[in-house]
Every structure is written in structure tokens, then in C-alpha cells.
Subunit: 143 residues, 2 copies
Amino acid sequence: MMNIGKAAAASGVSAKMIRYYESIGLLPAARRTDAGYRFYTDEDVHVLRFIRRARDLGFAVADIGELLALWRDQSRASADVKRIALGHVAALERKIAELQGMVDTLRMLAVHCHGDARPDCPILADLDAGGTGRAGRGTAQAT
Amino acid sequence: MMNIGKAAAASGVSAKMIRYYESIGLLPAARRTDAGYRFYTDEDVHVLRFIRRARDLGFAVADIGELLALWRDQSRASADVKRIALGHVAALERKIAELQGMVDTLRMLAVHCHGDARPDCPILADLDAGGTGRAGRGTAQAT
DNA sequence: GCTTGACCTTCCCATCTTGGTAAGGTCTAC
DNA sequence: GTAGACCTTACCAAGATGGGAAGGTCAAGC
């Protein structure tokens, strides 16, 4: 039995976030003391650690809801977990490819930029002209 | 001379975003017709294309403000542009490394997951136990 | 001239996760 | 009893973008 500050310190999830996760339904409403203070058990902290770890792996809160449900379900199929994880990996890799495209384009432009006091700059020239068609136009906003 | 819809179509920046960029000061307030409609010149569209291209390269709107100022300044030093570009590249690469760390961890867990109807799942086991210390703890939230 | 449909305007809301802050109640140790 | 550390709720902020409502305007057709 501990209050929210203790649970936060023990789990690595800030008190602010614990309340937030509760408010969006990722966590059930915490039990309260008579004075209205939330209190948590070691088991609750265990769940918070799970969430923290999943966030560190880049899972969105919605995904974590699914993962938690599977975690709690002793009869879950590992295929369900794997599907979520690999779907997430695919999304991460799309994102990486998008960022890498940006990096490649910028590096290419930057090597041709003197980088001195002269005003000539291929980077600005590219932005001016609209580039040569690299750095994914269509999906670039889908961050 | 064209109204906002035409400028949006010609530049690839939505009308919504054009108004937004104006509201945050990235663009000067557009001239208006007597009826209050914004109107734009080909030169304005040129600027919008510049912004669009820079966004596609992942520059934040704040960075684009700097880039625009340099673009307009005929006596700018290319070093200033290069500095912004390379700073952005470094940020992109940090982000890529972070995401790649997540991918590596998840892939490693996923290969050991049967992915069938059985409940045993190393992915959930890892989330449960807190992992082995990969997938950057501290900076994972800095998105 | 009037109507219709496409366009424009502003304003508010939502996303997603996190942090900050303010005003007020509670608990603990002295 | 009081100070200080903690808790509560509620609102604001960020980033960039889309959606929608309510209402004004314009161009084309009849």
C-alpha cells in the first residue's frame, strides 16, 4: 500500500502520467483513502513498470492497452502479441526509412555547401527549387 | 493574384496550414480583398513551396523561420545554412538511433516468440520483467 | 434579380503524451 | 499547532494538422 508518489518512484512512471493513464482508461480507477488519496499495491506497480517498459519500446498507449489485456489473459495466444509487436516494428521501420531519406538528402546537399561566408548554398537552392524528388513527399507528414 | 485555395493547390500547402503559418508568424499577414479574402502572388506561392519542401525534409516550423530569413537575405553566409541543416541531421540521426534500438529489441524478442496459439511469449515476459537494459530508457520520451 | 454551389472567413475541438502551475486539502514529524 | 511535504482537481502549453460549424462572398446559370 503506497500513495501515488511512492508508486511513481517505484515504477518510473510520473504521478502525472499515472493519473493521465487512469483518466484515459488505460488503468482502472485507483482505490482511494477516505481523504481521497489514490493508493497502490505492489501489483499495481508491476503493471506500471510494464507500461513504462512498453512506452520505452515506442508502443503507443492504445497498443499498450491491447498488450495489457493479453498480459492479463493467461490463455492468450502468443501469436496475438507477436502480431502487435511486429506491426509496431513495421511502423517504426517506416518511420526510420522516412527519417533516413531526409538525412540522405540533407547530407547530400550539405557536402556541396561551402559552409563559409559566401552566400551560395545548395541547401537553400534545393528548398527554393523543390528538390529532385527524394525525401518522401507523400508520407512525410504522417508523423 | 489568387485566393487561398488556389495558392494551396499551387504550393502543396493546405489552406488550413497557410492560415496557421500566418497565425504563428512564419508568414506575414496576407493582403486582403475588400471582402476580407486573403490573396497571394506567385512569389507567395514560391515561399509556400519553400516551406513545404523544408517540412518534407523534417525541419520544424521554427527552423524554417530561420531558413526563410537566410533565404531572403542575399548576403547570408552559407555557413549559417549549413549549421542549421547539419544540426537537423544530427537530431534526425539521434531519433533514428533511438527508433532503431526499439526495433532491435523487439525483433530479438519476436524471433523467440512462437507466434502460435500457445500463451508463452518472450515479448510479454520482457515487458513484465523490465527488459535487459536496451532501448534507451532516458531519452525514449524525447519525441 | 435570384438561386445554387463553391469558395472564403473565424472559432472551436481533437489528436498524443508530457510537463507545469495554481489553489486548496491532508498528512507527518516536530 | 504549525511547517513542510505530499495529495487533489483543473487548466494551459507544446508540436503540426485535420475536422467541422456558422456565416459571408462570389460566379455562373436561369
